[in-house]
Amino acid sequence: MIATPSTTVQNFAGTVRTLPNGLTLILRSIPTAAAVTCDLWVRTGARTEPEALAGVSHFLEHMIFKGTEKLGPGVFDSQIENRGGVTNAATSQDYTHYYITVANEHFEAALPYLVELVNRAAIPPDEYERERLVVLEEIRRSHDSPDRRAFEILARTMYPDHPYGRPVLGTAESLLAMSADQMRAYHRERYQPANTVAVIVGGVSEERMLAACEAEFADLAGQPIPASVEQPPALVPPGIHTHTLARLEQPRLLLAWQGAPIADIEEAIGLDVLATILAEGRTSRLVRSLREEKGWVRSIQAYFMPQKQPGLFVIAAQADHQRLEAVEAEVRGQLAQLIDEPVSDDELGRAVRILRNDFVFNTEAPAQLAGLYGYYSTVATLETALDYPAYLQKVRPTDLQRIARHYIDPQKAVVLRLLPESL
């Protein structure tokens, strides 16, 4: 047994432990669940890459599935799926995570495969060459999606001198330039226990979870993690950028601002509330005005995308070309009003209730909870996730005015107009 004291986390119905090698364990037993999710989060992503290796985190995620010295290519997938489980992974700017969900009785059999796979990747040269073709196809596929292209252009515009501005997939050039040796070095450097959070949620007891985790994670050797880019992104001057996109049928209008980093949770939640007031549901300000009353947009959305460093607040509309200016003017007007006048208690109550219930609705299955705990533990703290509903209840109309003025001032908007090539 490893005598790591449990870290006390208020409001958490589970256990948090840090192993001597630095790995964080978050365990939560849900006796009524029929399945269990194991989700390994590594604090590495496009943000932690040197520019010459742009795309290495995502390509490495693919190569991890090619196995280890002990597990040949495809063995992991078949071991999990033959047991009726599901597995997958995702790479973002701030993290890469790998997860499996299996019926409770397969938990002890499945976990060792995941740990072996993620920590002891072999990255065989011939598999490396072949899988690069797959990633190149993934890039081609993303180029065929106007929405992905739109987001790529937006990121590049909003973070011109910061890794957040680069596509997570990398580029064909960067992928062709990098070697398997460079990837192995990157893996050794970044996939360290102290850089990893392991989350287990589901229908097995905490005793079983802990025993399995100690057996699998304890002997992972750790070394110090190199510092990654922590330089915050520079602010982008307001302005209007127009681009044409091949095969676009429906022009897009995007207004964007850099928001708060996720660690500033009260500001981040304020931005969530503002996004809800603006564009969640038919009675929200922008949907009501632009879609339901004027009929100028096919859709309008507002969302805050939190990140470790300042995330993005985006208002995105699809409208006919001749309407784009009028839509933009209406959005600016609504934003100015949010800054000038406090929202009513009724409107705030509606937004808080929508967000609070969404939070409940998104924590029904073990995989959802594991994702929530893992995400916040990776880019902020577990407490941030647990306290989300309480913070939400504390939001006041004056907070929203201040946050709106600070982050989403219409005068400071960066505007993107995406038009079909024919225009």
Partner: protein, 411 residues
């Protein structure tokens, strides 16, 4: 599971699950776009259903839902229509009353129809932006000819332009009747209390004296081998290779579902390992076999570099054909069953997933018990069952291509 039929003919299924404070409930109408006279009619009904009743206008309805932080959605599908609600336990009675009002008293205001018509037309144009959707729409058009399954649920620009309010009302009055509907509810509820609430809020919902609408004629599929192609300046080619396939409940249904798992489900599936892992031809490669009341289709597809189009088409044809020539080993079969049954069980983790599955099975005529008999049928399958189903299905494919012009035409 609690099951009853109300006096008005509405079938009711309730599962009490005290584990979470989330109630998911759905009304299913056993008529979908398969029953529509004009493509896009049912989709437009779904868009306008929640935009006016005899008692409330669009904003009042939206406010009632959003102020509870709840969800209410209407969706048309090929074989059914559903009105779904989801809320915390305490808000369920209010939301149920609203859903009942929509089913019984929707008014389809003319100005709301015009807004949703316009939005639908924009959505139809936007479909052209997604190569998979273009390829699948083109596949369905070629396979189904005159049958309503030929069209995407949104309809076509011409058909949506032409829909009249009178048609929406006629479909609503004809098909939205309690003896053509099913109610499913899963959450921290007492079944008897749910039935009482239903009887109270649906007191005015009566089946008309006329008989239920007759089901539409069965699909006549286009059997001849052919290739349909749309040229678009995409970076990838989308290659669909598909076959006409059986309806739900027919003899080969379970076998084809298991073949779908074997070929296309997950990172260890045959298509994924052969075409992506071993040959690096694609990021996305898969197979699907939709569950349909009328004749369905089995599709394999891949997105690949334009120069690999021909190779990929031949490989997809080969992998289906191969199953008509070999028997899976007992081990391969067992692995496919484990994967199917395990993942099927994982698909029932939330109240919404359970209410969706059971209501859907009731709506398409196989009954909620299909949840059990279907998985039992899968477990019983033998290698020769799969081979026989493959022989009957994978004869001549219909190929649908979307990609740049330089792709050689394939015959």
């Amino acid at each position: 599971m609690f099951r009853t039929v109300l006096g008005n003919g509405l079938r009711v299924l309730v599962l009490a699950n005290p584990a979470v404070d989330i109630v998911s409930a759905r009304f299913f109408i056993r008529s979908g776009s398969r029953h529509e006279t004009q493509p896009g009619l049912v989709h437009l009904i779904a868009s306008v259903l929640s935009k006016g009743t005899q008692r409330r206008d669009s904003m009042a309805i939206a406010h009632a839902v959003e102020s509870l932080g709840a969800m209410l959605g209407a969706d048309g599908s090929p074989d059914y229509f559903q009105l779904s609600i989801k809320s915390l336990g305490e808000d369920f009675p209010a939301l149920l009353a609203l859903a009942a009002e929509l089913l019984n008293e929707a008014t389809f205001p003319a100005e709301q129809i015009e807004i949703e018509r316009k939005v639908t037309l924009q959505a139809i144009r936007s479909q052209q932006e997604r190569p998979f959707t273009v390829a699948y729409n083109q596949f369905r058009r070629a396979l189904y000819g005159e049958h309503p399954y030929a069209f995407a649920e949104l309809g076509t620009e011409e058909s949506v332009q032409a829909i009249e309010r009178q048609q929406l009302l006629a479909f609503y009055r004809t098909h939205f009747r309690p003896d053509n509907a099913i109610f499913v509810c899963v959450g921290p509820v007492e079944p008897e209390a749910v039935v009482e609430q239903l009887e109270a809020v649906l007191a005015g919902w009566k089946a008309p004296a006329v008989p239920l609408p007759t089901p539409p004629a069965s699909a006549v599929l286009i059997p001849a081998q052919q290739t349909v192609q749309t040229v678009q300046p995409t970076q990838q080619s989308m290659v669909l290779v598909g076959y006409p396939a059986v309806a739900v409940g027919e003899a080969d249904f379970a076998a084809l579902k298991l073949i779908g798992t074997y070929l296309g489900n997950g990172l260890s599936s045959r298509l994924f390992t052969e075409l992506r892992e071993k040959r690096g031809l694609a990021y996305e490669v898969s197979a699907f076999f939709p569950t349909r009341v009328d004749r369905s289709h089995f599709v394999t597809y891949i997105g690949t570099a334009p120069e690999n189009t021909r190779t990929c088409e031949q490989s997809l044809r080969f992998e289906a054909k191969r199953l008509t020539q070999i028997d899976l080993s007992e081990e391969e079969l067992q692995i496919a069953k484990n994967k199917f049954l395990g993942q099927y069980a994982l698909g029932k983790q939330t109240n919404s997933q359970v209410s969706q599955l059971w209501g859907w099975y009731e709506a398409i005529g196989v009954g909620a018990d299909f949840d059990r008999t279907y998985t039992e049928a899968i477990a019983r399958l033998r290698p020769e069952d799969l081979r026989a189903a493959a022989e009957r299905t994978f004869t001549e494919p219909l190929v649908s291509l979307v990609g740049p012009a330089e792709v050689p035409a394939l015959i």
